[in-house]
Each structure stands twice: as C-alpha cells, then as structure tokens.
C-alpha cells in the first residue's frame, strides 16, 4: 500500500516538497476514514451482532447464552410469523406485478407525444414524495368500511355495494396492495419512461421503415431493450416490499388481529415491544436472507455486464 501511495505521489506532485506530498497522499484516506469506520461498524458489525443475538435466548435485554437454532425453530413454529411471511408473498407478488404492469403501460402511453405530458407525469409521481404513514392514513379513511368508498357507491345507487376489506382478515392484505400500488406505480412509470427515451431512435425508425406496426415495434424491439430497466424496477420494488413497515403501521396496525402483519412489523413488535429480542433478531436475519437472495444475482449480473462493456 505504501509503495503504491509513493508512486502515485511522485507522479502527482513536483519533487522537492516531500512534506506536502505525504499529506496529500494521506488526505483521501483521512477524508474517507469516518465513512469506512461507520460502514464497517454500523453495517457489517451490526449485521454480525444481530446474527449473534439470533442464536441467544435474549428476551428483554441481550444476553449471550447460546441456544443454537432454537430461535429460528420457534420462529417457523410461530403462527404470527407464518402469517407475516405468507402476507409478504401475497403483498409482494401482487404489488410488484401490478406496479410493473401499470408502470410499463403508463410509460408507453405517455411516450406517444402526449400534450400536457409534464403535468400528467407530475400527477402520477407525486405519491412517491409523501411518507407511507401519510399514504396509510389517507387510505385508512378511503377504505373505511362504513364511511368510505362503500358509502359513496351506495349513495351513487349501488345499494348492494360492499367493500369492507379493511376489517376482513382474509382481504385486509389487499388493502395494503392498493395503497402501495398507488404510491409506487408512478415511480415505475418514471423509470420506464426514462428507459423508453433512451432507446436508440435509429433502430425504431429502421423497424418502421420495414413496415412494422407500432405494437410490433414495442413488443419486438423497444421492450426487449428495456430489460435492464425491468430488472432494476424488479429489485427496487421487491426491496420496498420486504422493507414495508410504515404502511402496515399506519393503515392496519397489523390488524384485524395480526392478519395483516408483514415480517418487518413482526420484527419490530418482538424486538421492541414484546421483549423477545432473540426471536426478533432471528426474524431480522431471515429478512436479510430474503434481500440478499434477490440482491446477489442482481449485483452479479450488473458487474458481469460492466465487464463486457
């Protein structure tokens, strides 16, 4: 490392001022040091710490009596956790699919030289600027079984209209999907619109000269070239889904019962309010595992792609 630094230094600074040379060489490292230390401790150190806690029987305070995989066993025997996991499956799956579908559709529609495109785009995207807590509060009122959308439809003449998903344990998870799609689909639209604008226009012109219809052009040429955008959107959306915590807290507070819990809420409840630190840590590690399972293939393909360029 020293040799390397010295080489770089002699190339960069005129010889004859050795004192300054060494300071200049160290400066980048000194500047980066706080971030390096913080990242090593607060990202990797804490990850290991949580992993260690997940193998202990810690309850209200961390203790370091190791119990092997007991907490993980308890976790997967726990009905509330299994509900949270299956909710994550339903919520994540639908949220990602609907967001991708709406996002691609709206982006293609907006790409047809639309008048007032800027204004429409602004409207589609504004929910992304507000907090999930605000979104949850708003939709809690809209989906309210007695005064919300149900009442509006009845007054409009649909006497038998029933919409009580928010109080139905089997349907409440779909309320989370509705609110989350409302918040994030505009963002997916923005991603794809940026991607569409980056597609080589020569390629599109060539296809149109060959007599390809608009739909064929999109299907055969434009959409396939957006594969990287598609991939990024997928990763970001699954990331949002796995981390979802605030939306549940504000919209349903996990209820009725614990029927709309997501893993993040399970973790928070057990680690911070129910004095089950070991169990909470184990659930956090499972969440980390889910994120890594998505992230590692993505980073791998990104890095490989960069090397090919």
């Amino acid at each position: 490392m020293n040799k390397n630094a010295a080489n770089a230094g002699s190339g960069a600074t005129p010889a004859g001022r050795p004192a300054r040379l060494s300071l200049a060489d160290w400066m980048p490292k000194i500047v980066m040091a706080p971030t390096v230390i913080a990242a090593i401790v607060c990202i990797y150190g804490y990850m290991i710490w949580t992993a260690v806690l997940s193998f202990t029987n810690s309850r209200m305070l961390p203790t370091y009596k190791f119990v092997g995989f007991d907490q993980y066993e308890r976790l997967f025997m726990n009905d509330r956790w299994m509900v949270a996991l299956s909710n994550l499956g339903i919520f994540g799956g639908l949220f990602i699919l609907i967001c991708l579908f709406l996002g691609v559709m709206l982006a293609i529609f907006l790409d047809q030289k639309i008048r007032a495109e800027g204004a429409i785009r602004t409207i589609y995207l504004y929910p992304m600027a507000i907090s999930f807590i605000v979104t949850g509060t708003a939709w809690k009122w809209l989906l309210n079984p007695t005064n919300g959308i149900e009442k509006m439809m009845i007054e409009l003449g649909f006497e038998d209209f029933r919409f009580n998903w928010l109080s139905d344990p089997d349907m409440v998870v779909y309320c989370l999907v509705i609110a989350a799609v409302w918040q994030a689909s505009g963002f997916v639209m923005a991603l794809f619109l940026a991607g569409l604008r980056g597609v080589d226009s020569e390629m599109i012109k060539a296809a149109q000269l060959d007599g390809a219809s608009t739909i064929t052009t999109y299907r055969r040429i434009i959409l396939p070239s957006l594969k990287p955008v598609f991939f990024s959107a997928l990763v970001i959306l699954s990331h949002i889904a796995i981390k979802s915590f605030d939306l549940v807290a504000a919209l349903t507070n996990g209820g009725p019962g614990y029927s709309s819990d997501l893993p993040a809420n399970f973790m928070y409840a057990h680690a911070f309010t129910r004095s089950q630190i070991g169990l909470g840590a184990a659930s956090a590690m499972v969440m980390l595992g889910c994120v890594l399972a998505i992230l590692i293939p993505y980073l791998y393909s990104e890095l490989r792609g960069e090397r090919h360029e």
């Binding site: 490392m1 639309i114 973790m267």
Partner: protein, 293 residues
C-alpha cells in the same frame, strides 16, 4: 394507398388517440383522488363527514380541523397538535441532510479521482448498505445509542440518518464525478494543487445539479422516515411521521377524520412542496441510483 383507406386509418387513429387521452386523464384522476378526498375531508366538520360522502363538497370552508391538527390534537398522552413534531422533524432533517451530503461529496470525489488501494472494494461494500433491511441493525444501534448517551435524542437520530444515508449520497456523487475528466484533476495535481484546493476550485463549482438532487433525495427520505423515528426517538423528539401515526391511532371518544386528514396533509406538505418546486431533480434522484446501477 387509396384515399378511402387513408381516411379510415386516420379515423381509427383519432379514436385510439381519444381513448389514449381518456385513459391517461382517468388514471391522473385516480392518482389525485386520495389527496382531493383528504383535502375535502379536512375542511368539513364532523357532522358533514357523517352525513356526506368522500367527494361531497363542504358547505363552507371550515379551518377548525386544521388549527386543531396544528396545535391542539392529542398525539398519545400530549395534546399539542403536530406543531412541535413538525419542528422536531426540521431539527433532525437539516443537520442530517447537510452532513450526509457533505460526506457523500467528499467520498464520491475520493472514489472517482483519488482512488487508493481498496477504495473500489469499499465502494462496493458500501453499496450493500443501500440495500440491507434496516431491521437487521435496529437492535445493535439501539444499544449503541444507549452507550453513547444519545438514546431518544435528536442528536442520536441525526447520527443514525447520516450513517445510513451516506451510502446513497456517496453513490450519487460518485456516479456524477465519474463524468468529470480524470485529466482535469491530474493536470491540477501536476500544477501542485492539493486535495482540497482541487475540490474547492474544480469539483465544487460544477457540482450544483448533483448537490440539488442529493439534498432533495435525502430531505425526502429523512422527512418521511418512520422506522428510525419510532425506534430511536423520545417523547419530545418524535418526528412528524411518528406523531401523525400516534394522532391517528389515539382515539378518545369519536374519531375526528377531518383532524386526521389535516394532520396528514401537514406532515406531507414539506416534501410535496419540494416535489412541486423541484420535481425534475426529484425524479433524477429517484432514477439516478436505479437505472445506472
């Protein structure tokens, strides 16, 4: 192509075009509706809410719910409205944004123009920090804040937001500084300019767009944060999102939806204003990290 055929395709085109606009404006209405309902509800009184529907107009403009939400509504055990928490959020957001942006700029500058052995590996390792679920660091961080004596304080929250925001700000600045020619910095180094001189004279003057993007991104992220707020704040240092959640879930007697909605709009207002004033930069921030790895 005969004239008739041409006219037919153009009629079809027109119909499709109209359908397209109907679809786009319809969706715009869907996206706008929840906010409109919030606004309408916040201007009604409780009686009007009970008798009317979501989209019925208030009979008169009634700002009682707003003044109650701002300074009188109960959030948990206290009844001081959203105002104190609104200012708490600013006290957390301003230093956290300033520090994380500055650190990100310096880190990005080092990683793109003063590479040293291991700086690239470190950058990759830091990127992981953008993606970990924060549940995995909550418990150790709570212990650490306790040891440092800053549990439940604004200082503690600022520190947490800086630590976990720096990964993003570094990514933003690094991607931006990659496009500054290496020769420019090399030439300045040959002329004897030091680390900070180059940063000050060459890098910083061209950084305005990326600083705007980063500040807006960080401001939105930290203002909207709930997880760190609920886990690490004390009763009197709660950010506005935590206070809003408490307000909505506190029910003494009847539910006052008009106050809830006014409080929600108050909590959303700063980021909405930023979005409306600087939407272009906001979108750039959202897509910057995403599209180009």
């Amino acid at each position: 192509m005969s004239n008739v055929a041409k006219r037919q395709t153009s009629t079809l085109d027109k119909v499709l075009r109209i359908a397209l606009y109907v679809c786009l404006f319809g969706m715009a209405a869907v996206y706008l509706a929840p906010f409109l309902v919030m606004l309408l509800t916040s201007l009604k009184d409780v009686e009007e809410i009970r008798s009317g529907t979501l989209l019925s107009l208030p009979s008169s403009l009634n700002f009682d719910a707003w003044s109650k939400a701002w300074s009188g509504a109960c959030t948990g055990s206290q009844c001081e409205g959203m105002a104190p928490y609104f200012f708490n959020s600013f006290q957390i957001v301003i230093p956290a944004v300033a520090i994380s942006t500055l650190l990100g700029a310096l880190n990005g500058y080092v990683i793109s123009h003063w590479k040293f052995k291991g700086s690239d590996v470190f950058f990759a390792a830091l990127l992981v920090g953008c993606f970990i679920p924060f549940q995995v660091i909550l418990l150790p961080m709570a212990r650490t804040l306790g040891w440092l004596g800053i549990a439940n304080t604004t200082t503690g929250l600022v520190m947490v937001h800086v630590v976990y925001g720096v990964a993003f700000t570094t990514l933003f600045f690094r991607n931006f500084y990659q496009s500054i020619p290496v020769e420019l910095v090399k030439a300045a180094r040959l002329d004897g300019a030091g680390f900070f001189t180059i940063f000050y004279r060459i890098i910083l003057p061209v950084s305005t767009p990326i600083i705007v993007v980063t500040v807006i991104w960080q401001f939105t992220q930290i203002w909207n944060d709930f997880l760190f707020g609920v886990a690490f704040s004390g009763f009197d240092t709660q950010p506005v999102t935590v206070a809003l959640n408490n307000l909505v879930n506190t029910s003494f007697g009847g539910k006052e939806y008009n106050v809830d909605m006014a409080a929600a709009i108050i909590a959303a207002l700063p980021t909405l204003v930023v979005y409306i004033l600087a939407g272009k930069y906001f979108v750039r921030g959202l897509t910057a990290g995403a599209v180009k790895g």
